[in-house]
């Protein structure tokens, strides 16, 4: 096993060492890093989402260890596998999965709040959702849906925010605004991010650490300016 990539800055620690079979190849990151925002970068089908889902607990690795902010979520040696509901991670999947039968307010408040600074007034102000609160989610635009999904994940007071290509369905004008909001979430609210993208520009704008994947293998890892094309 090769030496894991290490970063010693004062930032939340992520330990991602596991193997997870995905179709014809195995996703096998072997990383122990400290970063405020980690970008998982690579082409479609390279295993980015699989890593995110393994951290969220939605997929179980065959073996290995996953720890986030010193909290072990999965360890095959000690048979640790923290239940999805107890991982305290805010997950925003690519298809957002807003609950279609609930309105915006009900979606955002689905999880009970764990942090007083991430309450509804603060979140709606931060994400510009105040006029939308009583709307049905089916009538929202792509950007509005994205912000509701972010607010819902943040309302749960997550230890880390997991974002799977969050700008995929957002128009160019909105992209910059959402990227700025993500930086605010990362720096002002102190919520670390793991951010899946295939855009080097997005990765550079948000992340201070990037992992480049190809068919499940980590082909490069380090500061975005060094490892991204």
């Amino acid at each position: 096993m090769r030496e894991p990539v290490r970063d010693t800055r004062e930032s939340p620690r992520f330990e991602l060492r596991f193997s997870l079979t995905q179709g014809t190849f195995t996703v096998a990151p072997d990383l122990d890093i400290s970063a405020r925002a980690v970008a998982l970068f690579g082409p479609s089908g390279s295993g980015k989402t699989s890593i995110l889902e393994a951290v969220a607990g939605l997929r179980t690795p065959q073996e290995g260890r996953i720890a986030v902010r010193e909290r072990v979520l999965f360890d095959s040696e000690t048979h640790t596998n923290v239940a999805v509901r107890e991982r305290h991670l805010g997950y925003v999947p690519q298809d957002l999965l807003l609950f279609p039968h609930l309105d915006v307010r009900q979606n955002i408040t689905y999880a009970p709040p764990r942090r007083s600074d991430l309450d509804v007034p603060n979140l709606t102000h931060l994400l510009g959702l105040t006029p939308l609160m009583d709307r049905k989610v089916s009538g929202l635009s792509g950007g509005e849906r994205q912000r509701v999904a972010l607010a819902r994940a943040l309302h749960s007071g997550p230890d880390v925010l997991l974002l799977d290509e969050p700008l995929a369905a957002v128009d160019l004008a909105r992209r910059r605004l959402i990227l700025e909001t993500l930086v605010t979430i990362r720096d002002d609210l102190g919520v670390p991010l793991i951010y899946v993208t295939h855009s080097p520009d997005e990765a550079r704008a948000v992340a201070d650490y990037a992992i480049v994947l190809e068919e499940g293998r980590v082909v490069a890892a380090g500061p975005p300016v060094d490892v991204l094309p």
């Binding site: 239940a83 999805v84 509901r85 999947p93 999965l97 609950f99 279609p100 039968h101 689905y110 819902r152």
Partner: protein, 219 residues
């Protein structure tokens, strides 16, 4: 309208409603288990759940009679408490519920199968425990099909004849339902009364089936 005819219509409607309420909890639970779980003997459970649809209703009634009759296992348990089911309105409700259950289970199961697991997983990531996921995500998203299944079960209960006549008989003012009434009046040459009950039956069944079909097929 004659008082007796009106009483039969009201009794049948109330009994069918009661049967629908009785069949809902086990029907929803069974539909969810069949939609969401794989287990040994699942095919047997599926077959048992649809048996009342394919068996002669009279045979189902006879099985019920053996089960809840004085000498049956359930009947013997109830006897010390002075409770009797056979030839009572309870027997009517029971027969209706058994006969309507398969329609509810089939329709509700399809509803549960249409709810993508990812919505439930999303709720889990937000800290929801399984019961909360079920009551706030799964059940509401499958509710249209469950309601359609309940209406189909209600419709089936309204028209129930074979099992009802075996286990509850045709006691005027006590167990006589629309279907049993039509049969009894026809048998005894009271064609006008039978015709009125027939019109009521068709109207009730048509309305319920229309709403059930709209719920099951309209997005």
């Amino acid at each position: 309208m004659e008082r007796e005819i009106l009483d039969i219509a009201i009794f049948t409607t109330i009994a069918a409603l009661a049967a629908t309420i009785v069949m809902l909890p086990p029907g929803i639970a069974l539909a969810w288990v069949l939609a969401r779980h794989r287990f040994r003997g699942k095919a047997v459970v599926e077959t048992l759940a649809s048996l009342p649809l394919v068996m002669p209703p009279v045979a189902t009634g006879l099985l019920l009679l053996w089960l809840v009759g004085r000498r049956g296992p359930v009947g013997r348990m109830l006897e010390p408490f002075g409770l009797e089911i056979v030839f009572t309105p309870v027997a009517v409700v029971l027969a209706m519920a058994i006969m309507g259950l398969p329609l509810l289970v089939r329709t509700a199961r399809a509803g549960f199968e249409q709810v993508t697991r990812r919505y439930e997983q999303m709720a889990e990531t937000l800290g929801a425990r399984p019961w909360r996921v079920f009551t706030t995500i799964t059940l509401p998203l499958a509710s249209r099909n469950i309601l359609a299944g309940a209406l189909l079960g209600f419709t089936r209960a309204l028209g129930e004849f074979g099992a009802t006549i075996v286990v509850a008989g045709s006691i005027p003012g006590r167990t006589r339902t629309l279907a049993v009434g039509i049969y009894t009046y026809t048998e005894t040459g009271q064609d006008a009364r039978a015709a009125v009950l027939l019109v009521i039956s068709v109207a009730l069944a048509f309305g319920a089936a229309l709403v059930a079909n709209r719920l099951a097929h309209v997005d």
